[in-house]
Amino acid sequence: MSADLKTWVIIIVAGLGTFLLRLSFFALFGNHGVPRALERPLTYIPPAVLAALVAPALVKHQGAALIAAHNPRLLAGCVAALVTWKTGSVLWTLVAGMAGFWIFRAILT
């Protein structure tokens, strides 16, 4: 198989597979609705998934996990968390978090 064809097969097969993953429960739960037993557990997906997306990013420092006072991302994350708590605004969290990140990074490195 030529490299070009191989690339196309990858793109198409992976694209289709990814689409099916996304479609999964839209189709499965489509006609009968969500089974009642799953209703409460499903409501915990948002906080769990978002926390799982955020936490590693705050702790990473040059490739490894660093939970310490000299990790600029962690410090910026704390500032951002405070701003989120007080304002509930995505935009202000971004502004404060990025500003904090740049400042802490400049101070600490």
Binding site: T43, T84, L94
Partner: protein, 276 residues
């Protein structure tokens, strides 16, 4: 427990009302509604207003998406994909993390099945988003759900689920989601194209990739409503950090599942405390 035919009609009517943002309190059996009682809700917003609300909700997050799109375009080209293939991968796969991993693997000459499997494992998290959003879309026709599935991303998921669960103020869910997800799609494709065609890039040193987790942090705040959701988030956060070494987002999926479990357990504990 069988529902009477009248119940079926009521059930369908309630689904239509719910899809348009009305609140309908129900008591249900295992699969459906037995009794219902509608709560007066704010007037239903028009499709355009709902669409714009979705776009406004996702707008701040798109700032962080652009650098990622540029990076995807660039790394795809660097991996030897060519213009058309790079653009096609963003259209057909439409998942930045997976595309970046795939580009890396392809530049190292990995086999076809390894690349495809890697992409799919990284994208497994979409099944969680699908399960989470499905209750809100199950009144929609299949072709809408196909479209919405195609457009599903972390960002579109996050802003939509928060909006839907915090009561939509009369916004129509389908238009809200479309406003968020379609604009996200357009921005992502545009950024990839810029990365591919112009070789545009944002220097990694600027650290703009931090903007995406920051956006999610802001959204995380809105999902924590009480002790159980806090437990879910905390447990998931810990597991995701422990699982940092795991490849291909496996740490993320494990963390998601553990978080859900923690939330359910915390809720069960709270209920049993209240009973005694």
């Amino acid at each position: 427990m069988r529902n009477r035919p009248g119940d079926l009609r009521e059930m369908l009517a309630d689904r239509a009302r719910r899809d348009n943002g009305a609140r309908v309190d129900t008591q249900g059996g295992p699969w459906g509604i037995v009794g219902r009682h509608e709560i007066q809700e704010a007037s239903i917003q028009s499709p355009q207003q709902s669409f714009l609300a979705g776009t406004r909700a996702i707008a701040p997050i798109l700032l962080g998406v652009v650098p990622f799109g540029l990076l995807v375009g660039l790394t795809s080209m660097a991996a030897g994909l060519g213009f058309v293939q790079s653009l096609a991968s963003s259209v057909l796969i439409f998942a930045a993390a997976a595309q970046l991993a795939a580009a890396e693997l392809m530049s190292r000459g990995a086999s076809l099945s390894v690349v495809v499997l890697t992409i799919l494992v990284i994208n497994l998290r979409f099944t969680m988003y699908s399960a989470s959003l499905a209750p809100h879309f199950n009144t929609l026709k299949l072709r809408w759900r196909f479209l919405f599935a195609y457009l599903l991303t972390d960002q579109a998921y996050a802003v939509s689920i928060i909006h839907f669960e915090n009561r939509s103020q009369g916004h129509q869910k389908r238009w809200f989601y479309l406003g968020a997800a379609a604009v996200m799609w357009a921005i992502y494709q545009g950024s990839t194209a810029l990365g591919v065609l112009v070789g545009a890039n944002v220097p990694a040193a600027w650290g703009l990739d931090f903007a995406i987790p920051l956006s999610f942090l802001a959204l995380l705040g809105k999902t924590i409503k009480g002790r159980s959701s806090l437990c879910a988030a905390a447990a998931a956060g810990v597991v995701s950090i422990v699982g940092i070494g795991l490849p291909h987002n496996l740490g993320l999926i494990s963390a998601g599942l553990v978080g859900v479990l923690a939330g359910v357990v915390a809720e069960g504990r709270r209920r049993s405390c209240q009973r005694t």
